[in-house]
Amino acid sequence: MIALPPIGFVGLSGALLAVGIFGILTRRNFVLLLISIEVAMNAAILDFVYFAAYAPGTANGLSGQSIAVVLVGFAATEVAVGLAIVLALYRVKGTINVAEATDLKL
């Protein structure tokens, strides 16, 4: 039903993942870090959706789409927790720079 070639979709989700990881590795701002994580995660969700549509008619097709929905819920939850941590960090440290939040190391 959708006629996008597989290589395009896999390339798209790979590019999203690369952008997300680049953001995770380079951003020092906690909020931007969270956004980068969302981008990387959406690459995975996109894969689920695409592969479910790519092989329709099999029982797996539906399960891929439902997992994508669940993952969207997870991502929302994760952002809620992450933003709560950002607020708590800001209260304690007065900054949301992750390079300064190193108190948990041994």
Binding site: I21, I24, A101, K105, L106
Partner: protein, 662 residues
């Protein structure tokens, strides 16, 4: 008589009595203040040991040539494949035979007398419990050594007397010279001890499986087998192994008996109390070396090359040590050199094959040399110095001591009828009788013969310097007086021995002890009488010269430009041998030690420290990986992920293609 021989079975009590004294005084000495800090306890137990020891000695005299071996097998290892076919045993036990009986009398009698004398001599010293405990331990070890029935047990007690000697030389350990003398004695005798142990191994290598009853391995190095010597003496043979073993034994004996070239420690050992010098470094322990040679020659045998070496060492030392005694200003050291010289005579006799003649001289020497030391101790106790040139005129306030020293001196000089004459004359006559078949003994016989003159001279030089004249040369010691009775009694008893011990040979039983199983010296032939006359003449000449130079309080001063000055300086410096040994120690040995230290410090420790540093550095770097920054962790995570993918997608397919095959 049967009662006495019955005592042979309990001979082990002799050392045990002294062990008891050691334990009591050592543990409770501090609380025995009323008994002179345990001195009387030690004296009483030494007295008991003496009674037992002398009774055993007399018992042996009454049953000449009897061997009584009381043995207890300490442990026995069953034969294992490829090991000794009859198993391996270690035994402990006591052996009463003519040799040990004679030594037992000497050790216990002199030990008791010195112990008694100590009560007076050591009266003002601190550390008395230590002194009596160590002296008792020494007596225990020495009697144990004498009674040992196998070579290993002998070696054990040999080391024990060595360590007691070390303790007692260093008795005044707060004095640096005493501490260093103790160390020196220990180290020098250790050279001999190592050789002795090598000798034991070599003899064991030869007799381990050959010999009666399955050889030494099964019988624990024993000397005697039941009632007879373990090996027939003639079995020694001429093998190179036995020759080397005998030379090693000679080395051990030379260390203990202070024979050239291991003699350097004995004069320095005079740093200990004079009583210790009398007992350990004159009468008993230093004689252990001679006793070792005697035991070896009776039970194991020496080869002709060994004998020549022993004769050479003994004869040379007899003369060599006497020369150093001639010039020394210290009364104790003069007697110490004299001891070395006299031990040389004994070694000479044993080497020439006259074991019992050597032991006979050991017997008489123990008494007159202990007498000389105790008399010297009496003088030192009275005047507080050992320098002969400060003394003088002491015969007036100290008549007994002067007489005792004179008797000891006459005995040492070999003037008849004193004890030393008989035994020294026996040695000279015995060795002379072998010269026909062993012309190579000539030079050593002549050296020993010449030493007679020096002996007489140096001992009477000491006597005249100390006792003749009107008053002491040092006014500070004008008020000398005799010691208490406990010091006088041993002098009297030992004087009696020094006069009469030579006549003991006319006691039938005693003669039986001496002639057993050994060559008998020729007696009362014309050459023997001429030889005696010559040696007595030499001795008298020496005394005369001493009187000429030092008599009546004269002090003979050698002219400063005299050609003899250089000789005197060589003698006073002990032929520079001590300096040479120190040089060897400080340069040769020290540089080896430095090299070893370098290897230890930089090569071995360096390797270990290198590893340690490498790991510490690596872990320090690795520690920094944990920065606490989330982004860093994410980076590691991503890196790891890339590695995993690389493995899965590149390495794994490659490996499968390369090795998968099937």
């Amino acid at each position: 008589m049967t009662i006495l021989t019955g005592l042979f079975g309990v001979a082990f009590l002799v050392p045990l009595l002294s062990v008891a004294a050691f334990a009591i005084v050592g543990l409770a000495g501090g609380r025995l203040a009323r008994l002179e800090w345990g001195g009387w306890v030690a004296v009483a137990l030494a007295g008991a040991a003496m009674v037992l020891g002398v009774l055993i000695g007399v018992g042996e005299m009454l049953s000449p040539g009897k061997y009584t071996d009381v043995r207890y097998t300490w442990f026995h290892l069953a034969p294992a494949p490829g090991a000794f076919p009859n198993g391996f045993s270690l035994v402990v036990g006591t052996l009463v035979d003519p040799l040990s009986a004679l030594m037992l009398i000497v050790v216990t009698v002199v030990g008791f007398l010195v112990m008694l004398y100590s009560i007076g001599y050591m009266h003002q010293d601190r550390g008395l419990p230590r002194y009596y405990a160590e002296l008792s331990l020494f007596l225990a070890s020495m009697t144990g050594l004498v009674l040992a029935d196998n070579l290993l047990e002998f070696f054990l007690f040999w080391e024990l007397v060595g360590v007691c000697s070390y303790f007692l030389i260093g008795f005044y350990y707060e004095k640096p010279s005493a501490a260093s003398a103790a160390k020196e004695a220990f180290l020098v005798t250790r050279v001999g001890d190592v050789m002795f142990l090598l000798g034991v191994f070599l003899f064991f290598a030869h007799y381990a499986t050959t010999g009666p009853a399955g050889g030494w391995a099964a019988n624990g190095f024993v000397f005697a087998n039941g009632t007879a010597p373990y090996l027939p003496v003639a079995s020694a043979g001429h093998s190179t192994l036995l020759t080397v073993a005998g030379l090693m034994i000679l080395g051990g004996a030379a260390g203990k008996s202070a024979q050239f070239p291991l003699h350097v420690w004995l004069p320095d050992a005079m740093e200990g109390p004079t009583t210790v010098s009398a007992l350990i470094h004159a009468a008993t322990m230093v004689a252990a070396g001679v006793y070792l040679l005697a035991v070896t020659s009776v039970f194991l045998g020496f080869t002709p090359i060994d004998q020549l070496a022993i004769v050479a060492v003994g004869g040379f030392t007899a003369f060599f040590a006497a020369t150093m005694a001639v010039v020394h200003p210290d009364i104790k050291r003069v007697i110490a050199y004299s001891t070395i010289s006299q031990l040389g005579y004994m070694v000479l006799a044993v080497g020439a094959g006259f074991t019992m003649v050597g032991l006979y001289h050991l017997f008489t020497h123990a008494f007159f040399k202990a007498l000389l030391f105790l008399a010297a101790g009496s003088v030192i106790h009275a005047v507080g110095t050992q320098n002969l040139f400060k003394m003088g005129g002491l015969r007036k306030p100290m008549r007994l001591t002067a007489a005792a020293f004179a008797i000891g001196g006459l005995s040492l000089a070999g003037i008849p009828p004193f004890a030393g004459f008989w035994s020294k004359d026996d040695i000279l006559a015995s060795v002379y009788s072998t010269l026909g078949s062993h012309p190579e003994y000539w030079p050593f016989f002549l050296l020993a013969f010449a030493a007679v003159f020096l002996t007489a001279y140096y001992i009477f030089r000491a006597w005249f310097l100390a006792f003749s004249g009107e008053h002491p040369r040092d006014p500070a010691i004008a008020h000398a007086h005799e010691g208490p009775w406990v010091m006088q009694v041993p002098l009297v008893v030992l004087s009696a021995f020094a006069v009469a011990a030579g006549l003991f040979v006319y006691i039938p039983g005693f003669a039986g002890l001496l002639v057993h199983g050994t060559n008998i010296p020729p007696h009362l032939s014309v050459t023997d009488l001429a030889l005696s006359g010559a040696s007595v003449g030499l001795g008298a000449l020496g005394i005369l010269l001493a009187w000429q130079l030092w008599g009546n309080g004269r002090v003979y001063v050698l002219a400063a430009d005299s050609s003899l000055q250089s000789i005197r300086s060589v003698l006073l410096n002990r032929y520079y041998m001590k300096i040479a040994y120190d040089w060897v120690g400080s340069r040769a040995v020290y540089s080896v030690a430095r090299a070893a230290d370098f290897v230890d410090r930089y090569v071995i420790d360096g390797t270990i420290r290198g590893f340690e540093r490498a790991f510490a550095g690596a872990s320090d770097r690795l520690r920094r990986v944990q920065s606490g920054v989330v982004s860093d962790y994410a980076a590691y995570f991503v890196g790891g992920m890339i590695v995993v993918f690389a493995l899965l997608l590149i390495v794994a397919p490659y490996l499968l293609a390369r090795f998968g095959g099937g």
